[in-house]
């Protein structure tokens, strides 16, 4: 991997020599990567290659796994997120996350979106919260579908709507980065297309990192692609380069479907 691949003029997050261990087992081995501010970055690779693990270390969700241990350095706007001075609650408000399976809370649609702003005290009164909730739902492309039934349970929505609700929920706390962990793997093609469209629209407003094992999806939505294999970063570069002109043999084999 050459140096210019890693260079991004205005990185939002910088990871340097990151290792992640689950107990004795090393899941991520010496990964360095920059995440661009106005870019969508895709992590691809076969199952178990560590792409989700690495994603979860970007907002310290690995902290919830007792045996997980992270070494190396990850910076958000130049600030080490694993430094003792970093407040993990604030970090996660700045680096939001959307999960593989839609996981709305068993609350109303309104309360699902309002949950984050409430706990962070972003809305001093109901009118402010109304504005935040509406804006988040509009951005997530869900407003027209749910504006008349905000009081209904979030779990009553369809799978694709639930996932967009989860995106709205993440947007509502006004993050700087949104991490998406295979956000479409539980959705049908139409719902997937909507999410991809949404990612296009969100680009530029947030730095987006998306993990996917669907290579066409990575090619469609991202500008940068990182290929992970067996816990290492094999190749990282412009999405067009990775898919048309991969430099590494392993990347080529993977994107041509030799294994995966």
């Amino acid at each position: 991997m050459t140096q210019e691949d890693l260079t991004i003029s205005d990185p939002k997050m910088k990871a340097h020599s990151v290792n992640v261990f689950y107990g004795e087992k090393q899941a991520i081995n010496d990964v360095s990567i920059d995440v661009g501010t106005d870019l969508v970055t895709a992590f691809i690779g076969p199952s178990g290659c560590g792409k989700s693990t690495f994603l979860r270390s970007l907002n310290r969700m690995n902290d919830t796994v007792a045996s997980a241990r992270v070494t190396g350095q990850i910076e958000l706007d130049g600030e080490d997120i694993y430094a003792p001075s970093m407040d993990v609650v604030q970090l996660r408000a700045r680096v939001g996350m959307v999960f593989q399976k839609p996981n709305p809370f068993p609350k109303s649609i309104y309360d699902n979106v309002g949950y984050g702003p409430r706990i962070h005290g972003l809305a001093p009164n109901k009118a402010d919260l109304d504005v935040i909730v509406e804006r988040a739902l509009v951005r997530a492309g869900l407003w027209d579908e749910v504006k008349d039934r905000l009081a209904e349970s979030g779990t009553a929505l369809s799978g694709g709507q639930q996932q967009r609700l989860c995106i709205a929920r993440a947007i509502a706390v006004d993050p700087e980065v949104i991490l998406m962990d295979e956000p479409c793997s539980a959705l049908d093609p139409i719902a997937t297309a909507k999410i991809e469209e949404l990612i296009h629209e969100l680009r530029g407003k947030y730095a987006i990192v998306i993990v996917t094992h669907n290579m066409q999806q990575a090619a469609r939505v991202s500008q940068r692609t990182a290929f992970f294999h067996l816990g290492t970063l094999v190749e990282y570069g412009k999405t067009t380069d990775i898919f048309t002109n991969p430099r590494q043999e392993r990347t080529k084999d993977y994107i041509t479907g030799r294994y995966g």
Partner: protein, 458 residues
């Protein structure tokens, strides 16, 4: 010759073993001779023969051992020697059983002279019926065994048959508990109906005076309200005020905060606590908690403070229920998907906010179900209230006063010398029926809630 059911059971079990060996050998032989492949492996043929040999004979044995004593007695009563027996009652029964003991060799000589002439008819009769029984049983066993044995063919589907029979046994086993419950309900119901012939149901359910022991001058009154109130005060109010918050906090700590090592120790200890006999809690309530509470109440100047108080019984009962509530809450919180917790944490919620605003609301239906089950246990609990709550039926909201509960009154009504046809004794069954219905309804509602909640996350 007497009828020894255990020995006979062994005998047919031995025959069944022979049948098993024979069936297995024959199927292998037939298959070898015909050069065909067996549908079922030889041991299934063996089991098929053995089951046909054993099951009908064992069933007959069970029926015969319960029927034959009556047949024997009938024959004895028909004999000439029995004509001089007293016509009815206690004495007649004593003479008969005396004669029977001697006839069956359990006793060397008669104790009652009148029994002596009956010994021989008894011996004859039991001899006769024993032989009939054994002969019939053996005939059944052989018939069953032969029937099965002759059906063995290489293509015979012994395995499916055996599996069907095994399934039938399993079904019967599962019916035992259900049928027993049914029997309990019926017995409660019949005694209660006898009670309700004497006292109207309305009086029991809505009457406010409970005085079944007032004696001759005043009539007994069976107003159940004071008992129901006492039960609710202790089991559903005081015990739950103790058990719900502590149980919930225990569950939250154990599921969310406790290190695995702590959890590994605390959870089994809590489970042991759930297995402590309630009488032990009763001692604790009566000897330690109740006097302490009384002194405390006297110090505060609360009137009617008694060493038997609703509060003492309720608090100790609450402590007893804590493991129950915490284990139900633990299960419910654990059943909330990890994704829900991650979703909240990923939004920057603290663990505390996540627990209060996401986990507990999501677990609430399950927790509610658990609480209802706990209430139904608390109101059916007996020993603690008998020992610590007292027996005086007061309608009071003062938790330091003595109250009584349905279960405590049932114990009081049924202990000591009782006639089983007075309203006083029968009242115990009516109370039991009320308690049974209430706890049954609570359990049905609770299990339904828990079930619906489980479905929501599957």
């Amino acid at each position: 010759m007497t009828f020894n059911a255990a020995a006979l059971l062994l005998l047919i079990a031995g025959l069944a073993l022979i049948g098993w060996l024979a069936g297995r050998a024959r199927s292998a032989l037939l298959a070898g001779r015909a050069g065909e492949k067996l549908h079922s492996r030889p041991q299934y043929h063996g089991w098929y023969v053995a089951l046909w040999l054993f099951a009908p004979a064992a069933l007959f044995l069970a029926i015969w051992s319960s029927v034959s004593p009556a047949l024997v007695t009938n024959q004895v009563l028909a004999s000439e020697a029995a004509q001089s027996l007293p016509s009815f009652g206690f004495e007649r029964g004593a003479i008969l059983s005396d004669a029977r003991s001697v006839a069956e060799g359990r006793q060397a000589a008669v104790r009652l002279p009148a029994a002596a002439p009956l010994v021989k008819p008894y011996a004859d009769a039991s001899h006769k019926y024993a032989w009939i029984g054994i002969a019939a049983m053996l005939a059944l066993a052989l018939a069953g065994g032969l029937y099965a044995f002759t059906r063995i063919r290489p293509e015979f589907r012994a395995r499916t048959r055996v599996e069907k029979i095994v399934m039938l046994f399993l079904l019967l086993a599962s019916l035992v508990a259900i049928l027993t419950t049914f029997g309990i309900v019926l017995s409660l119901l019949f005694e209660s109906i006898r009670f309700f012939r004497l006292v109207s149901p309305a009086e029991l359910l809505f009457g406010t005076e409970w005085a079944p022991t007032s004696g001759a001058p005043q009539p007994d009154t069976f107003g159940g309200i004071p008992l129901f109130w006492g039960t609710v005060l202790i089991g559903a109010i005081i015990a739950m005020i103790v058990a719900i918050p502590i149980g919930m906090m225990t569950a939250v700590y154990l599921t969310q905060y406790a290190a695995p090592a702590v959890r590994r120790w605390v959870k089994p200890i809590l489970e042991i606590l759930a297995g402590v006999p309630t009488v032990v809690y009763g001692y604790f309530a009566a000897l330690t908690v109740a006097p302490a509470l009384r002194n405390f109440a006297v110090m505060l100047g609360i009137p009617n403070a008694s060493t038997e108080s609703a509060l003492a019984a309720g608090i100790v009962m609450g402590v007893m229920i804590i493991p129950f509530v915490s284990s139900m809450a633990d299960d419910s919180i654990n059943a909330v998907p990890q994704a829900m917790r991650d979703g909240s944490l990923a939004l920057g919620a603290t663990p505390n906010e996540t627990i209060r605003q996401v986990l507990i609301p999501a677990a609430l239906p399950g927790v509610m179900g658990g609480i209802l089950l706990a209430v139904s246990r608390a109101i059916g609990e007996t020993m603690i209230v008998v020992m610590a709550a007292g027996l005086s039926a007061n309608m009071t909201a003062n938790p330091f006063a003595s109250v009584t509960t349905v279960t405590a009154q049932i114990v009081k009504l049924l202990t000591g010398d009782q006639e089983f046809d007075s309203a006083k004794t029968l009242a115990a069954f009516a109370l039991g029926l009320v308690l049974f219905i209430v706890t049954l309804l609570l359990n049905i509602v609770a299990l339904r809630i828990v079930k619906r909640y489980r479905e929501a996350y599957e």
